[in-house]
Subunit: 433 residues, 2 copies
């Protein structure tokens, strides 16, 4: 039975994603109506530049007054695809207060203020959905918070930034250095003119905070996420990774501790074995690997960005929120009941691959091994290589067993103080084993 | 705010999956209560053999009278993990009539009677959820019917049977023949004593019918699914596949036609390029590749069977159905509004790899090529090989461009009538390009 009064949708932002949302709402109106049980109507589009020609959007729907739009009182769902913290945050809160539910693609805002926004949604008995905020079109938020609602997630390991995966894949497949690969990513439109948010891991860290919060039913703030970018990954690191049967990916890793009482979230480049499903994720694709008690290992793969893919996720949420509205119900809200401790990076336990430049003389290995032992870091393998250039230096590559990040940091600090250690060429975590 | 009166759950079946569901309901009771918003209580467990010891399940909950259990009237959710058509079908219908919603893992039943069961659920305003019916723990039904509800799915290409994937992976990696690989699968418990349902594609066909129905919002009956098993795949086929840069998988393929007006569903072994994400799905794992207008290419990967993984999917549904119940709402029901034509196999368009045994003499290639041309099947490549055994025969391997299955069948029929064609050694479709 189809309701005939349409549900009214306000669109905030009409850029790459917003224009796709508007287009699909128009071209697929009949399908959306059938799936929702009522037609939906684009009731207004808030933009910054009203003079820009926007094909398929009637001029009378365009407004520069987003606040007035969300305050109209007859809006059923506000779709926020502006991005950034303000004015998005105030507009979303205002939308709840004026009777609308919200679909957002705003990872930065959700990572920073998710708890407050969920609280505002709850107070007003409205929905806040944001599948598009993490990994674009890949269904991830819904599987984590609904499909796995009867399971216990222990780890989320993901490639959640397409730009950096494109760069690292290029370095891996061509032997290019970081700058060369970045230049190509920029030329092809995969990297922005200022790539900082991507290459320094800010974007991935926001997604890690959101994923960890949902996976562990615990509030994880953006500040809780340890973040390292990938600008210092070198061609030599890829060569080392290959020797280990690994490649290098920028990973977002959310883990429950072995005792189950605490969680950690972090973003950094890491070696993963070539046999791991994440190792073969190419180009700008995203993929997220989820490990849980009962389901075991799951992987979700797809395009992590782009107008149409992100719009697909937004529209899936829009259908769900509209359905909830017709049902007079709301979907699952924030679930933070577990309230586990979010531990600092020092508590993370993993393996490490460390390249040292050392003096090429007897006894160095013994010295180095002693430092590892003193800090409780057990060595798995060591490879020692004299240099061809005869400068009296050698390379020492150490791969450790599992140890805490704090122990490893202590080890490295002590190594740097040894006369025979000329430099720590690289430290890379080894994940996914 | 937690409701204190528990929701009552009746479990039908307590085998590999059912016992895991009961176990997790007990061990994770607090988590489930927090996620649902009310505690859940195992109110009864219907089994065939009541004398069997079932650890952790109080004896007073065990009954052999499943009908009385679902008729009790105080049951909120019936979890059906008996499998098979009867008595499962009658029990589910009876459950709806007596006020319960249903979570089922029963692919055979859903594929055969999904429409009638959905109608029964709707009439009684109850939920029917069945994430566990397809690909075990992999969230697939929910992403297709919710996450992609605002998108247009064009193709679903999946490895949905772990037994056959284990066998084919073994044949690929070791060069073993079908029987040898099957024996190993049986020894390791991946194949049942009677492997017919798996190796003849019946299991995958049921899943294909369910997936096609949801993906295309169209009723697809089990009879509509073209089905070929994989018992005739040979080591020689794998050798041919390797020459093409391919491997062989048993695929469930649900496709929308190019004009969008009809759909097809089929299960058969096929070559897929090694570069395709499905090619690297190893062992008994399942994976489903989904192509849609806006999202592009998505893949969902994980364990497709087993007690704990299937229980994970069942429990995810149980949480959702319980939440709906507390909300006084129901989730998305059957969506068959599109009512597209389901076309027969003859209308399927794909590429083919055909191996012919032919007389080793001049003019044969011209004859063969003429037959293809007469049937409108365009040849991409031909490879002709004289045999070492000097028996006057040669091999001709033809790879076609895209053509309808009907045209290809006509071609093969005509080829068999040629004096110079001694036999058609194999015909294999080529997918995923």
């Amino acid at each position: 039975m189809m309701r005939t009064r349409p549900l009214k949708v306000a669109l905030l932002g009409c850029g790459v994603v917003g224009s796709e949302v508007a287009r699909i709402m128009t071209t697929h109106a009949d399908d959306l109506a059938a799936r929702i049980g009522a037609p939906i109507e684009l009731a207004g589009v808030a933009v910054r530049r009203p003079s820009k020609v926007r094909e398929g959007i009637p001029a009378e729907l365009i407004t520069t007054d987003a606040t007035a739009l969300v305050k109209r009182g007859d809006i059923d769902v506000v779709v926020e695809v502006i991005g950034g913290i303000e004015p998005a945050r105030t507009l979303i809160t205002t939308a709840f207060e004026h009777g609308a539910s919200v679909v957002s693609a705003n990872k930065a805002l959700l990572a920073q203020d998710g708890a407050a926004l969920h609280a505002a949604a709850d107070e007003n008995d409205k929905d806040l959905y944001y599948e598009a905020a993490v990994a674009g079109a890949i269904p991830l938020i819904r599987p984590l918070r609904e499909s796995l609602a009867g399971d216990k997630v222990n780890r989320v390991l993901g490639i959640v930034n397409g730009t950096t995966n494109f760069i690292l894949d290029k370095m891996d497949s061509t032997g290019a250095g970081y700058q060369e690969a970045l230049d190509e990513a920029t030329a092809l439109g995969y990297a922005e003119a200022d790539p900082t948010a991507d290459v320094e891991g800010f974007d991935a860290a926001a997604k890690a905070a959101i994923l960890a919060g949902i996976a562990f039913h615990t509030r994880v703030r953006l500040d809780d996420v340890h973040r390292e970018g990938m600008t210092e990954v070198t061609a030599a690191d890829f060569a080392s990774a290959k020797e280990m049967g690994c490649t290098i990916k920028l990973l977002a890793i959310c883990e429950r501790s072995a005792d189950g009482a605490s969680v950690t979230a972090r973003v950094h480049p890491a070696m993963i074995p070539l046999s791991h499903p994440l190792a073969s994720v190419r180009g700008a694709y995203n993929a997220v690997f989820v490990e849980s008690d009962a389901a075991g290992q799951l992987m979700f793969y797809g395009p992590g960005a782009g107008g149409a893919p992100t719009a697909s996720a937004v529209l899936g949420d829009l259908v769900a929120v509209c359905r909830n509205r017709l049902n007079g119900a709301t979907g699952p809200g924030e679930s933070a009941y577990a309230a586990l401790t979010v531990s600092p990076m020092g508590d993370v336990v993993t393996r490490y691959h460390i390249s040292l430049d050392v003096a090429d003389k007897p006894g160095v290995l013994a010295q180095v091994a002693t430092v590892f032992a003193e800090h409780g870091v057990s060595i798995d393998t060591v490879r020692q290589q004299g240099r061809q250039d005869g400068d009296g230096e050698a390379s020492l590559v150490v791969v450790t067993h599992r140890a805490s990040d704090a122990s490893l940091s202590g080890t490295v600090e002590a190594l740097r103080k040894l006369d025979t250690v000329r430099g720590v060429a690289s430290i890379m975590r080894v994940e996914g084993e």
